[in-house]
């Protein structure tokens, strides 16, 4: 991809303008993570914990919100572009659709950070979560890798979404199972071993565990390095698979005529 600053800026401007047109869309950034966090805390109480685990219940809710928004906005972007005929205009231009999807997903991931930030603020201001003892570097690097993992999976899904008019339904199917597999709101080690093996193929599972453990004060560098290596490797694998699929998907949609909604 030839990165052009003008395109990066314009893509971000279009998405930001569309997203901030009304309070309902904007509210998604607050309401969704708030709902997930509330459910997390209620479940923690029901399980007999007097105080909820802030990392998994509150911040986990924020990450859950990030993931949901990524799936939602990616689906919305491609579906509305197909319906509005913009997808044809993009594909018919010299800029590759995958480049546009990559930028869009990056913007969606970065906008999702708002959810995580709000969850952090809520954890600190409402529930008294402190930053004492946390592994700042570990959490910071893990967060960057989490963003990379989300981006690589988002680009993969966006490519899949472009492939067919009904692929949005399949992506909707994936939203909750992936959240379940990656342990957004609970330690992944509580899941059955075979589920952990499946989850092992997802880059965000490794980055997320690294981040959660760092927030809980884990300073074990070996533990973190292994998690980071898996996260980077799998993210790169997702990107390579997306690149490999790209030409096939583009040929497929141009053969089937599924670029337009009619």
């Amino acid at each position: 991809m030839k990165l052009r600053w003008g395109l990066v800026k314009q893509q971000a401007a279009v998405q930001f303008r569309v997203l901030t047109l009304d309070w309902v869309t904007l509210g998604l950034f607050v309401l969704q993570p708030a709902t997930f966090s509330a459910v997390g805390m209620l479940l923690a109480h029901a399980a007999g914990n007097a105080t909820p685990n802030l990392v998994y219940s509150v911040i986990g809710g924020g990450i859950m919100g990030m993931w949901s928004q990524l799936v939602f906005t990616s689906t919305f972007d491609i579906t509305s572009d197909r319906r509005n005929g913009v997808l044809e205009v993009i594909v018919g231009s010299p800029t590759s659709l995958v480049d546009i999807e990559a930028l869009r997903t990056l913007n969606n991931v970065l906008m999702g950070l708002v959810s995580l930030l709000l969850a952090f603020i809520a954890a600190m201001s409402i529930f008294g979560y402190t930053l004492n003892g946390i592994n700042f570097w570990g959490a910071g690097i893990s967060l960057l890798l989490l963003l990379l993992g989300l981006w690589s999976m988002g680009v993969f899904l966006a490519n899949f979404l472009a492939w067919s008019r009904i692929s949005g339904v399949f992506v909707d199917y994936l939203e909750m199972p992936i959240a379940f597999l990656c342990g957004f709101m609970y330690p992944i080690r509580i899941l059955p071993h075979w589920i952990q093996i499946i989850a092992g193929f997802l880059p965000i599972r490794w980055a997320l565990e690294g981040m959660n453990e760092s927030l809980l004060g884990n300073h074990d560098l070996n533990f973190l390095l292994i998690h980071w290596a898996f996260s980077i490797g799998l993210s790169v694998a997702f990107i390579l698979v997306t690149r490999w699929l790209q030409a096939r998907v583009q040929d497929s949609i141009r053969l089937s005529g599924e670029l337009s909604s009619i």
Binding site: Q11, V14, E88, I90, G92, D251
Partner: protein, 327 residues
């Protein structure tokens, strides 16, 4: 240098779909079959045909949005399948209706975004957007959201979008559909000015008057095939050098008029449009003077309420070709 801007050689497009949940059935729909034509650089070429004839599918193959299932097509000498990227740099396209723009953004915001897709220099973009808005008659409306635009304004913005990168070849798919007569006339004026700038234009339309007024050559498409291709004048001559006499007649006495015309040979075609009251008698004839002579005793309000003698229009030709194909 190749003198052709657009070349289509035996283009085919078949869509395959599946139906049913359990016992799935495959269905093939032939949208375009063996379409061949070429368009000279600087020419305005028209594709005419009824709904579902394959015009839009042909345009989408030529604009790289659909892959042909057979045949080849070249734009400015470059293959639309193998040299897609190069083709896309040199073409612009605008499809009918309000699709193809971000309706919740302003006209300028839309144009800025689409200019980036064509990697236009920001300085060029800043200069070009007001010029294009003026060209399509949208000056002063650049900061208005597209959702507030009328169909005609949206269509003109589509045209501005298609012209952003100053393409050599322009594809306009039914650009005046849903636009009022004044708007259509303005759009036709813009198309003519683009032609004067040396652009090659492929236009699809349902409107015969529009095609006759604008196009240097026309291909009539029916069920995915080209059934006629020539200049508008040659097409009219091809059907015949006939004149058309349209008479509005008293229904009760129309039989007498038909009787008097029986002496004419088979070159004269008489058609009754009896779905209206009073009835319309349409006579396509190579000898209008003879027909007028035969009708002259009946040219009074008891038989004939109105009479018009005219040359064949492209619409007559189109109807004759399409109906002839059906027969």
């Amino acid at each position: 240098m190749n003198s052709f801007a657009i070349e289509a050689d035996a283009l085919n497009k078949t869509f395959r779909s599946k139906t049913g949940l359990w016992r799935t059935k495959s269905k093939s729909t032939v949208a375009v079959e063996e379409i061949s034509f070429s368009v000279e650089r600087g020419e305005l070429f028209g594709l005419l045909g009824p709904n579902g004839a394959g015009k839009t599918t042909t345009v989408k193959m030529l604009t790289t949005l659909l892959l042909p299932t057979g045949g080849t097509a070249r734009i400015l000498g470059q293959d639309v399948v193998r040299e897609t990227g190069e083709v896309r740099k040199h073409i612009g396209f605008a499809f009918s209706g309000s699709r193809g723009l971000y309706n919740r953004l302003t006209a300028v915001q839309n144009l800025r975004y689409f200019a980036e897709l064509y990697a236009l220099d920001p300085v060029v973009t800043r200069k070009r957007i007001p010029e294009l808005l003026e060209l399509v008659g949208l000056q002063g409306r650049g900061d208005d959201k597209v959702e507030t635009f009328s169909s005609g304004m949206t269509q003109r913005l589509h045209l501005a979008r298609a012209l952003l990168h100053d393409p050599e070849v322009l594809f306009l798919d039914e650009p005046t559909v849903g636009i009022d007569p004044v708007g259509s006339r303005e759009l036709r004026t813009t198309v003519r000015s683009l032609l004067a700038l040396g652009k090659t234009i492929l236009l699809t339309t349902h409107y015969m008057a529009e095609a006759e007024e604008l196009c240097q050559r026309i291909a009539i498409v029916k069920k995915g095939r080209i059934v006629a291709l020539d200049t508008p004048d040659a097409l009219k001559r091809r059907i015949s050098g006939d004149s058309v006499i349209e008479a509005t007649v008293q229904t009760a006495n129309s039989g007498a008029l038909l009787d008097c015309l029986h002496v004419l040979d088979s070159r004269t075609k008489i058609e009754f449009k009896n779905n209206s009251e009073p009835e319309k008698l349409c006579i396509h004839t190579p000898e209008p003077a003879r027909v007028m002579e035969l009708l002259s005793p009946y040219l009074n309000p008891q038989y004939v309420l109105g009479l018009e003698v005219r040359n064949q229009t492209l619409e007559d030709v189109y109807v004759a070709i399409i109906q002839g194909e059906q027969e």
